[in-house]
Symmetry: C2
Subunit: 155 residues, 2 copies
């Protein structure tokens, strides 16, 4: 597939912004917060694993240890540029996250995502990747837009 | 009951620390993070409603609007000094939070708490206060210590 897994660097910021904006799933506010967290990650607050293909980052995630937990990690953002979906980049990125978190002593991943119809593909991705639904907060994001909490225990 | 509901001020920091430390429920790390968030609240990042009785703060909460949501608020910390429990301060504090969040346009409160036995009283408090269980993340805090997610829709 000609892809390379590596940590995001400052020069990738434009490619990350492009991937987020191209994802119809994210609102302008969400893109802004995701980029702020990418900047915080570049400063050391989060890990930013990514997939580079054909000279640019096409997928990335923003992950971090959950405060006050022994071994739980949040996947705050997970984005594959829509023009580069269907090539296994999401699966490769998730596999890398699991290795990276396990190596850091992490024992589970937690993802919060939307219950909206346009997130069905994302939810299927998490379910196929071994995440199980752990909760649902009705109308959390806005009326009719529930928060679904998924968790995957790592070995 | 001779209590007064008011916002926390910098001079209350010692009373808050006392209440947190006296609560056997909180670890040293949790007390540290709760005090950091109280400081951030005093700087404007969170709201810090509290109950003063007999000259000092005996109960307080740290609450804030959940980023990227239209009208969801997190109750990050909620603490009644154990020597001052059983006097309705928790109920009064929760009622004040609901008013304050509703006045700010908030429509729901979300609380994450522990599934441990020593949190049974806290869970019963939330259930009696109208919160419903929305999720459970097994072993989230540590092995055998689940995260329970409660939500209360306002009005």
């Amino acid at each position: 597939m000609g892809m390379r897994v590596r940590a995001l660097v400052a020069e990738d910021r434009t490619a990350v912004a492009e991937a987020l904006v191209a994802s119809a799933a994210f609102s302008a506010d969400e893109v802004r917060v995701a980029l702020e967290m990418a900047d915080a990650g570049l400063a050391g607050d989060y890990l930013l694993p990514s997939i580079e293909a054909e000279g640019a980052v096409r997928a990335y995630a923003c992950i971090g240890h959950a405060t006050l937990t022994a071994a739980s990690w949040y996947v705050y953002w997970f984005c594959v540029h829509p023009a580069w979906q269907g090539r296994g980049y999401g699966r490769a990125l998730n596999a890398h996250i699991e290795e990276q978190v396990s190596a850091a002593g992490g024992e589970r991943l937690v993802v919060e995502t939307s219950g909206r119809d346009d997130y069905a593909r994302a939810r299927r991705f998490y379910e196929r990747s071994g995440y199980a639904l752990a909760g649902r907060i009705a109308d959390f994001y806005k009326t009719g837009d529930d928060c679904l909490i998924y968790c995957k225990a790592l070995r």
